[in-house]
Symmetry: C2
Subunit: 257 residues, 2 copies
């Protein structure tokens, strides 16, 4: 009996591996620099050089300090970002950050309308073509806006900064209705998008953030290189900086395809 | 022929999976807070609350800024930290940060001598008992000092800070000889340790850093929970914050056992 269980276990992994095919890594992370895109009201990334060059002791030494908002560049929104009492970034279980993923490409719709909201219909159309979104999966949305990064004017809709710039934000996002459907019907672990926010730029109530985070579903934002992924059959590993009590933070996110 | 290659590929993974057994994640990362241990001369982690509570718009919102040295808490030393022209943290190939790993436990020796240097003999003894360190593997060193984290007095040997405290640092490290042997004979991809530095506290010349980094071998420092790992048969996934040109940075490191 134990032998049988072991063989079934191995066969299960064979199926997974047969889907994954190559084992190739894809880095879905933008590097942090003074070009990184931040929310118009957020503190931008700043690197301060502490040492660079030969020391008196005979060895080369390079070191820096940096400061940043938690939410900028490729980062994670922890559930507490928009839901009181929900998980902080250090409390998100690793199981929710690693696993089977799919990509939903809505570039055709968003390029015609920068305020496009990804709808339940988009998800249903995707499933018709590619089969069901796996239960407990991670869903990434490719809007095509990743092609504009780090050009703030094109990526965010504005290169102005400060509270007055908020109303000038124009980029697509996930509708609250679609988010709620994914949570209720596909038990998704996390979502990701190639824009600055899982809510669209013109959102006033951040209803999609609220819907996701009240259910402890984190969001990956400013995700890079989604054009290098297939529609399904890949694994996401998303490991955020472990900030105690943090509402989010820098994220290193990769795919294995 | 292609079928044969595919079958060999699957069989190779079967061996790996049979070793890994459970698929259980172990988080080897300390969370960042004002308790995080930093080098005595480095800027410590600081979190600044930006928002926390209900907004006028009817939703809850929490967000923070933070500042830190690249080298503190659980972090990576990129090769450029001690080797001019070597890889910056954003340039380290993902292949060097993910893979088969072993743990060398030298706690018995270090607890008798906080200035203990892990020797070539320690590696040879380990291989006699556990078999060869895998070629292209990642090697983690358990000194037992992780049990003291974040008590700086016990973990670093001093709770003083500033340049004068450097000479009071007492904790074990990896000898340059052992590092060179691992690079030349086992082609290791990376090393990790449960102390603040891969060189021991009393090092003046940081010879182990120099030996590793001149060959583009990064080091993981202040690694947590090594006592939860077996001696071999686990996979490391070590994903650092991707700082453009960075000499290192916050690291999220996990094991799958």
């Amino acid at each position: 009996m134990r032998t049988l269980i072991f063989i079934l276990f191995i066969l299960g992994f064979q199926v997974v591996l047969a889907q994954e095919k190559t084992g190739e890594f894809v880095d879905l992370t933008y590097s942090f620099s003074n070009e990184s895109v931040y929310w118009v009201t957020a503190r931008e990334f700043e690197l301060e050089e502490v040492a660079k060059g030969e020391t008196d002791l005979g060895f080369y030494y390079s070191a820096n300090n940096f400061s940043t908002a938690e939410h900028g560049g490729t980062h994670i929104d922890a559930p507490i970002h928009f839901a009181e009492g929900a998980q902080t970034v250090d409390q998100i279980p690793l199981e929710n950050l690693i696993g089977d993923a799919v990509k939903v490409n809505v570039s055709d719709s968003t390029l015609k309308n920068p305020d496009y909201l990804i709808s339940l219909k988009d998800l249903q159309n995707w499933e018709k073509e590619h089969g069901p979104i796996p239960n407990g999966g991670i869903v990434l949305f490719q809007t095509g806006f990743g092609n504009y990064y780090p050009n703030a004017k094109k990526y965010l809709g504005t290169d102005k900064r400060g509270p007055e710039a908020v109303k000038e934000l124009h980029f697509p996002g996930l509708s609250a209705e679609a988010a709620e459907w994914l949570i209720a019907n596909r038990k998704i672990k996390a979502v990701g998008i190639d824009t600055a926010s899982i809510d669209f730029g013109q959102s006033q109530d951040f209803a999609t953030h609220v819907a996701l985070m009240a259910k402890n579903v984190p969001a990956f934002e400013n995700v890079a290189n989604l054009d290098q992924l297939p529609e399904r059959g890949f694994t996401i590993i998303a490991l955020p900086m472990k900030i105690k009590g943090g509402s989010g933070g820098p994220l290193r996110i990769i795919a294995i395809k």
